[in-house]
Structures are given as C-alpha cells and as structure tokens.
C-alpha cells in the first residue's frame, strides 16, 4: 500500500517535527549565551565531542531534507509536475545527505 512517495512524506513530516522542536533550544542557547560569552564558548567547546558532531550532522541533514522535500512538494503542487516524482524524492534525499556530509567533513 505504501510506496516511495509515502516515505518521502514521512521523512518530510518527521524532519519538520524535529526541527520545530529544536528551534526553541536553538534560540534559547543563542540568546542566553550571547549575554554570557564564556558559557557559550564552553558550550561550543562541547561541539568537538563525537556525539555532538553526530547531532549536528543530523540537524543539517534534517534541514536539508526538509528544504528539498518541500521544494519537491511546491513543484508538484504549483508546477503540476507529474512524471519522475520518485526520482525527485530520491534526489532530494541524496542532495541533503551530500550537504550534511560536506558539513561534517569541513567540521572535522
């Protein structure tokens, strides 16, 4: 019953959900830490740990996946594309992986 486009929908939904849950944390850390530079620097030093690196990779992947998945939906809805939807969906995942990998490579 469920085909590739359904998984594209699930990825879009889950990535969106995780991003919106991450947003307040993101804002909070930035805002608090800018008043207290030492604390953010201490926090940013944490960013070298492998676990934190993995979480960062995940967030960049989520953002990229949501961006390209969203572009696919917008194209489908407003440009009336019908053909090769699956290819597009797969392509968007691939590109987001590539971007996240690039980020990780540069971060190390």
């Amino acid at each position: 019953m469920r085909k590739p486009l359904w998984y594209a929908y699930l990825l879009h939904r889950v990535s969106g959900l995780l991003l919106v849950l991450f947003l307040p944390v993101h804002f909070w850390i930035l805002a608090l830490a800018m008043r207290d530079a030492d604390r953010l620097d201490a926090f940013l030093a944490l960013a070298d740990r492998p676990m934190v690196k993995a979480a960062e990779f995940g967030l960049v992947f989520l953002l990229a996946a949501h961006l390209f998945g969203g572009l696919r939906v917008l194209a489908l809805e407003f440009l009336s594309w019908t053909a090769s939807q699956k290819t597009l969906a797969a392509g968007s995942v691939a590109v987001s992986f590539a971007l996240a990998a690039l980020f990780l490579l540069r971060a190390i």
Binding site: K3, L5, W6, A8, Y9, L76, S80, Q85
Partner: protein, 237 residues
C-alpha cells in the same frame, strides 16, 4: 497450479461495528482464482453467515473492495496468485470506514463526502447544447474522475483520511476536480473544497494514485484543486 491438494490458508475478519476477530478457513486452490472467488467459496461451502458485498464481478460496480493482506484491492479483479503470501491470505473490511458486518464496510461516510460534488446543471434542456471540443484542455482534465467506480480503495489507502475523518478524501476531491473542469457544471466547487476538511489537507503522498485499480491519479487532481483555489484568492477569478 491445478493440483487439487493445494490449499489456501485464509484469515477472514468476522464481527460488526463493535467487536470482531479473524477466523481461519482452508480453501481449495483453483486456476485463475480471484480473492472474491475465495470469499464466495467460504460463504457457499464453509460458513453461509459470512457477509460481504459484490455485484458485477468484472470491475465495473466498485462494490467488492476489501483489504487483502493489508492492501486495499478490488477483490473481483485481484488474482490470488498475485497477492498470496506463503499460501496465506488475510481478508478484512476496507480501512477508514465503519464496519457493518464481517467484510461489508459502511460506505455512507464515503458517499456523504461527495455531497458537495454533485453535478448542478448550468443549462436546461431548452437551452442550446454547449459546444465542447474533445481536445480542449479543460475537457481533458475533466476526464480525471470519469472512470472512477467509487470503490473507495483510494479512500482506504489514504493516511490523511485515517488521521482526519473530516478530510474529504481522494475520490470525492477527484470528482470535484472533474466538476471544476466541466463547463456544464453550474455549482461552485472551489468553495466546497476549501474548508477545514478540503483539498489543502492532502500531503501528496500518492497512496491513492498508487492503489487505484483504474489507474486514476487523485493526487494530481487534488494538486489541480489546490492551484485553482489559491489562484482564485490572488486573481479573484
């Protein structure tokens, strides 16, 4: 496939709107046997109280749809050989609809959602017949729902219907798209599909299009409705 010894293990859902459970049957295997043949065999040879629905047996009437191994299908045109998994079949009433008894789902909520998409003639028999060219793009788009047999397979496949019972669903919305493109339709279908349960709830996951036995494409029809309803807001046409 003609060895008489071959048998199918079939789990059939028995019960009503309140409660129920799967019941096991052993059904002999025949050549070119359809899932509807299997259900009929059980009703005729094993348990005459089994309730199910069919009429035409040739994929025209849309009354025989059931869940077969978890997938919504028109059972009269679904060959056992295509869907059997390790000699077993699970047959259940259509998803996303209330159950009346056994395999008969209550189609009322499905058809109620079509209420806003009923043809309203824009002309009477005394008027001149509107001229519509077969190659007109609007006429071509109006074909989207013409082959629909109202089987509710797409409705059962749609996870948005599952999560939101108010959602009109793929079949009614495809019908609305046909009416929108039908120049002879006098009603205003765009407002009907712009409410809280309207076309904007569709997430373009294409379970409808992937499962429609007549190879219709509700997802693209709904995308057309989204475009038309949004265009109206910005262009006021």
């Amino acid at each position: 496939m003609s060895e008489a010894a071959q048998e199918l293990t079939v789990s059939v859902w028995r019960g009503d709107a309140r409660a129920g459970a799967f019941q096991g049957f052993r059904v002999p295997r025949f050549d070119s046997q359809t899932v509807l043949d299997v259900v009929s065999w059980i009703q005729q040879n094993a348990d005459p109280t089994l309730t199910y629905r069919f009429a035409c047996r040739v994929g025209m009437c849309g009354s025989c749809a059931m869940m077969v191994n978890g997938v919504p299908r028109w059972t009269c045109r679904t060959h056992v050989s295509k869907v059997v998994e390790a000699g077993a079949l699970t047959v259940a009433p259509l998803r996303n609809l209330p159950v009346i008894k056994d395999l008969a789902a209550d189609m009322d909520p499905f058809f109620e959602k079509w209420a806003g998409s009923v043809h309203e003639p824009s002309a009477s028999r005394d008027d001149e017949i509107a001229e519509i060219r077969p190659d007109d793009p609007k006429r071509a788009a109006a074909s989207s729902a013409i082959e629909c047999i109202n089987c509710a397979v797409c409705h059962a496949a749609c996870d948005t219907v599952a999560g939101n019972p108010d959602y009109l669903g793929p079949a009614a919305l495809t019908r609305a798209w046909t009416l929108f493109n039908d120049t002879r339709h006098g009603g205003d279908v765009l407002e009907v599909v712009s409410g809280a349960g309207g076309c904007h709830n569709c997430h373009s996951m294409a379970s409808c299009t992937a499962n429609c036995p007549n190879e219709l494409d509700p997802m693209s029809a709904i995308a057309g409705l989204k475009r038309a309803t949004v265009r109206r807001v910005f262009r006021r046409d």
